[in-house]
């Protein structure tokens, strides 16, 4: 089985600070592997453990320093890595990102069986790249997945979490799965894995290597345009209820809620 995992390097969104003019400070913010993509890598490794003849290729589109997340994925247990990088790719929206990644997968990993993405990237948080790749490659998808239970022949059994409950799907391969947070945790890179990550060459491809046109990539190829970015209104803290005991606190709170017409 040939498994492809799409991973993204993202800023640690818990580490965001602001200037006095309410612009975000991007410098010095730590970069991490998108948390959902760690579950994607972990899931791929579990599929490989159950299907030992598999190889896992991790792929990212990003600047040269995005190699860090590829190395981390190899240290966890992936086999090969591909960096899709070109100055012309910058400013890509989800359409351009999925078009570029789909082209790279089609051109460079021709006979793939399974593509695994994260459900969301915590920076953009769109959840659109995975389905976009699946559409470009004309393959089926299962989004909001919790687990790839098993693979046999050319079908995968995939668990999916929706508003109404848990669904189990059978999907024909090749296909794409987007992972939510799973019931299992991503493994930590081992020392051996880290050494392997330092030895493993990372293949790099730019726009021309993939036969892409400038009109279809990066900001030029993106149908959407960010016209404004601003800091959300900060929620103000309200009233503290002080009381001598729990009973009084409860009573005072209910008075407030009655005043707010929440309770009658």
């Amino acid at each position: 089985m040939k498994i492809v995992v799409c991973v993204k390097q993202v800023p640690d969104t818990s580490d965001i600070r602001w200037t006095e003019n309410n612009t975000m400070i991007r410098e010095g913010v730590e970069s991490i592997i998108n948390p959902f993509d760690e579950y994607a890598v972990e899931t791929a490794i579990r599929v490989k453990e159950a299907n030992p003849d598999s190889t896992i290729t991790v792929i990212t589109m990003g600047p040269p320093q995005a190699k860090d997340v590829l190395k981390r994925a190899i240290a966890m247990g992936a086999d090969e890595a591909m960096l899709i990088s070109d100055k012309k790719f910058s400013g890509a929206d989800t359409w351009a990102t999925s078009y570029t990644l789909a082209t790279a997968i089609r051109e460079k990993i021709t006979d793939f069986d399974l593509i695994i993405c994260g459900q969301f990237a915590i920076d953009g948080d769109t959840a659109q790249t995975g389905p976009g790749i699946a559409e470009q490659l004309n393959i089926p998808q299962i989004t909001y997945s919790k687990e790839i239970e098993s693979i046999s022949g050319n079908t995968a059994i995939v668990k999916r979490e929706v508003e109404d409950g848990i669904q189990r799907f059978e999907m024909q391969l090749p296909g794409l799965v987007c992972m939510l947070k799973c019931d299992y945790e991503p493994r930590m890179p081992s020392i051996k894995g880290t050494m392997k990550a330092n030895r493993t060459p990372i293949a790099e491809y730019g726009m021309e290597d993939l036969g892409l046109n400038p009109e279809d990539v990066g900001i030029k190829g993106s149908p959407t345009f960010v016209s404004k970015a601003f800091r959300p209104e900060q929620r103000q803290s309200g009233e503290m209820i002080s009381a001598s005991d729990a009973k009084e606190a409860a009573k005072l709170l209910l008075e407030k809620l009655k005043n707010d017409k929440v309770l009658v």
Binding site: W95, S237, M240, A243, K258
Partner: protein
């Protein structure tokens, strides 16, 4: 591009074939956008495999849609990514609407990106407010970076301009029983052999919850301060007496006390209830990302420095194991009920 006209809402129904809340919110939003554009047609696309659609048509009509575009095909009886994508894409190509609004449900976020990819157009995800800008373009605003930054996004050249919109954020319309939307059938080519996924089974996750958190008007959420799975019992009691759902912080889900479907926050669900009661939750930024747009936030925590108090409408410093049962008791004693329409 100038030939594209009108605003479409893609309707979604639940497992009982009822039009879901966000569809109504979007019809209302579409009317608002229409008046900003000087009166373009508001259309609702209804896909069904079910013969019995009278109720859906009436609901969409009363919500204020001018027109209902109907695609009726047995193969649409059950949702599939493949055929919904085919049906919506073909309908858009035939009728050429200018703006498409889709609910940001698991279904909407499953097919909408495929439609946008196929039509090579822009899709703005999980929006919380919608507008028409000075140039007459659709301007969709959404939180990014874990709720730290808002971005307003345009789709300048390609059509349609598409967005998925978070449920429960925009207001519902006043229903008008005299409104009659005109129904027009759309014929599309659907081929079931294109379906490459098969639903094997579906099991509920809500057994140990009173209600689903994404639909609840009141959420009682517990954190590590609840100490154990058993600790949540007092929250379930309160949820029952208020008619709400029980949510949890990630710490509790990771500890195995609650299921992931109840997790609120960046790696869980984003919720927007009328009342959110945070019990024994510190208020880490990843948790706040999922709940800080709730109307009223009540925080109960024994640490007066806990960041959750920074976003709370009402804060109580104290032990959850004393305060929560006292609230439940008082509600019962006073026979209070929640007002659904507040």
């Amino acid at each position: 591009m100038s030939e594209h006209k009108g605003i479409w809402v893609i309707a979604e129904t639940d497992s009982n074939n009822k039009i879901i809340g966000v569809t109504l919110e979007l019809i209302n939003a579409a009317k608002e956008l229409s008046s900003q554009l000087g009166g373009e047609e508001v259309g609702t696309l209804l896909m069904t495999g079910n013969e019995n659609i009278e109720d859906s048509i009436r609901t969409i009509s009363e919500a204020g849609s001018d027109k209902i575009y109907l695609i009726k095909d047995a193969s649409l009886g059950q949702y599939s990514t493949e055929l919904y994508t085919d049906a919506v894409s073909q309908a858009i190509e035939q009728k050429k609407p200018s703006i498409i609004l889709v609910g940001a449900t698991t279904t909407g976020r499953d097919f909408a990106p495929r439609v946008a990819a196929r039509l090579r157009t822009g899709l703005t995800a999980d929006c919380t407010s919608l507008n028409i800008n000075e140039q007459g373009l659709f301007a969709a605003t959404r939180p990014t970076f874990g709720g730290n930054l808002m971005a307003t996004i345009l789709c300048k050249v390609t059509r349609p301009q598409m967005a998925t919109i978070r449920p429960k954020v925009l207001p519902k319309p006043e229903m008008n029983s005299t409104n009659n939307a005109e129904v027009e059938q759309i014929n599309v080519n659907l081929d079931i052999s294109r379906i490459k996924t098969k639903l094997l089974e579906c099991t509920g996750v809500c057994q140990n919850n009173v209600q689903k958190i994404e639909e609840a008007d009141i959420i009682i959420a517990g954190g590590r301060g609840m100490k154990s799975a058993e600790g949540f019992k007092i929250l379930e009691d309160l949820a029952r007496s208020l008619g709400g759902a029980v949510g949890a912080s990630r710490a509790c889900v990771d500890a195995g006390w609650r299921s992931h479907s109840d997790q609120v926050g960046q790696t869980g669900k984003t919720v927007c209830p009328k009342v959110y009661i945070a019990c024994g939750i510190s208020g880490a930024i990843q948790h706040l990302a999922g709940m800080s747009s709730s109307d009223i936030i009540i925080a109960i925590n024994k640490d007066s420095e806990a960041p959750i108090f920074g976003v709370a409408t009402y804060g109580i410093v104290g032990d959850v194991f004393e305060i929560v049962p006292a609230i439940t008791e008082a509600i019962k004693a006073e026979q209070l009920t929640t007002v659904c329409s507040f």
